[in-house]
Symmetry: C2
Subunit: 336 residues, 2 copies
């Protein structure tokens, strides 16, 4: 068991649970030997679904949980009251070191709340940021924080920058990642009060490769690897990214169908355009880690399908193997 990475998976979370979740889980187990899976949720349903697949039985365990937290519930209340929900049961396993990581497509609010209340922060980490990878022209960038901590302080943003750098370097594999702070102009004196306070602090950090401000316009080009912002702004960026992307896709597809000529041409360009639009698809990159916790919690999109679940589970292996939390403790906490 020593080399295994034990990942608890919320079998009941998300729009496509349990089917796609379990499909992704089986795929992950079959793809990587190190993975030891714990599927948490309503046992009957999970076993029924699992019966459709071939996989090494000893590497998938089912843990029964009777309740399900919905996205309509108040997150903090749900975490406190639904002690037998898949999220709470799985998070307790992470807390008690029975699992190294937890992957869920369920209620974002409940996952964020549970991460703090159950799994708990690494001592010295002020706020745990949610940090999705977003597609860019060059590959991916890490957007940190993206919804966990609204009204953050400058010291939080500095920790986000450091944690994000470690994640990009060791999980995604980008050497000396470029860190930038989201701003409304390139100059140091630009910005709101929070950015003006944070900018000089980031400039003074020897452990990150701070390149200054990034305007939102430059984010899709891949100008920075780690994009630091407070959660409200980060959430707006993430969702607008998805919104503009999907509107554009729809428009291009409609254009291809709009005239007789274009319909003919569409037959020729379809595969090339499809591949291109796909490269802007966030699900390829796995879910968003909630960093700075005593264990790893990964939030996928609510509508995650097999591929995103599988990739999120694989992400947990790299996170453990690269000892990200140990690096966070060594490099961030000791210094502060």
């Amino acid at each position: 068991m020593a080399d295994k990475v034990r990942v608890a998976v919320d079998a009941m979370g998300g729009d496509n649970a349990p089917k796609e979740v379990i499909k992704g889980a089986v795929e992950a187990v079959n793809a990587k030997e190190e993975i030891q899976l714990i599927l948490v949720g309503v046992e009957d349903k999970i076993k029924q679904e699992l019966a459709n697949y071939t996989y090494p039985k000893e590497r998938i365990r089912v843990v029964h949980a009777t309740e399900i937290i919905t996205t309509e519930e108040s997150p903090v209340m749900a975490i406190r009251k639904k002690k037998d929900s898949s999220i709470v049961v799985a998070m307790n396993m992470v807390k008690n070191k029975e699992a190294d990581a937890f992957v869920s497509a369920g209620s974002s609010g409940a996952i964020l709340a549970g991460g703090q209340l159950i799994v708990g922060r690494i001592k010295g980490i002020e706020r745990p940021p949610l940090a999705p990878l977003i597609p860019t022209e060059k590959g991916v960038s890490l957007l940190i924080d993206c919804g966990a901590n609204v009204d953050a302080r400058a010291s939080h943003l500095v920790q986000f920058a450091k944690m994000g750098s470690i994640y990009m370097e060791y999980v995604v594999g980008i050497k000396n990642p470029k860190v930038a702070i989201v701003n409304i102009g390139a100059e140091e004196e630009k910005g709101n009060a929070l950015v003006k306070e944070t900018f000089p602090l980031l400039k003074q950090c020897p452990e990150i490769n701070f390149i200054g401000s990034i305007e939102a316009r430059e984010i899709p080009s891949g100008y920075a690897d780690v994009i630091v912002c407070e959660a409200f702004v980060g959430n707006v960026i993430l969702k607008l990214y998805e919104g503009v992307g999907s509107t554009f896709k729809k428009m291009v597809i409609n254009a291809l169908k709009s005239t007789t000529l274009s319909k003919i041409g569409a037959l020729f360009v379809k595969s090339a355009v499809k591949d291109t639009l796909k490269s802007f698809d966030a699900s390829d990159y796995g879910g968003a880690p909630l960093l700075g916790l005593n264990g790893l919690v990964v939030k996928t999109h609510g509508n995650a399908k097999m591929k995103e679940i599988r990739n999120s589970i694989m992400q947990c292996v790299i996170f453990k193997e690269q000892q990200i939390n140990e690096k966070i403790k060594e490099r961030i906490i000791v210094k502060e």
Copy 2:
């Protein structure tokens, strides 16, 4: 002169000045009889450019200004020191009621600073927001505020919502426009401190059609007509909109060129795709008004070409004819 709308135009502002600016100005004058133009800037250069066109001479006047404010300068300093710059001279004309409106593609910072310092706010308006129209699937939405007032207060956002409603109804022609506040979730209890404070105030406004929160993901669909946010967030939205849009365009164009098959198909789909991508082009809708001033100031994109300049000037006519500032005074100030 009574029915004329006197528009001062910054002949020296923007990447394509004076050529495109003057081309747009001439187009506007030729298109609308009500327009009386004042081209402000270096007289020689303006006259040299004007010599290329046919237009009613009595409706374009040139006012000489020797200095130019660049985007590199500190806006407030530039406004204070460069008394003979095209921006300062033109804004003084608006202040002194020699012009009804001012259109510029020059330094955003200088235009925002000059709007407040020279033209001045309508009495009772706390902060003048910059409010560009952004393209959506359904047409356009007004994004207010988009860069003028970072770290705004709830009372500012309420005024933005009211001014934005008036603008959308009477300038853009959308009856009873839907107003929403940018938030990170649909529920009333979601958001940062500013949004939580503003939400109930907007709910209580009888004079606007408040529909609640809008997540950034829904902005491109045209879910709301007036999108209220503080300037930092608004600026991020505007710039990301442009950034994701231009990345997508680039990617689709590259995809069309990527294989022999797609190159053949591209010949058939080119015009349909081009038309579609164009409909997402912000320049069609003219510039962004800075609302709540004693006169109208319109900021176009720095790289504005003829069409955006022309449309911005035409926008000023509707603004004057529809008596937007009178409506702002009646409906907002009196009530508060």
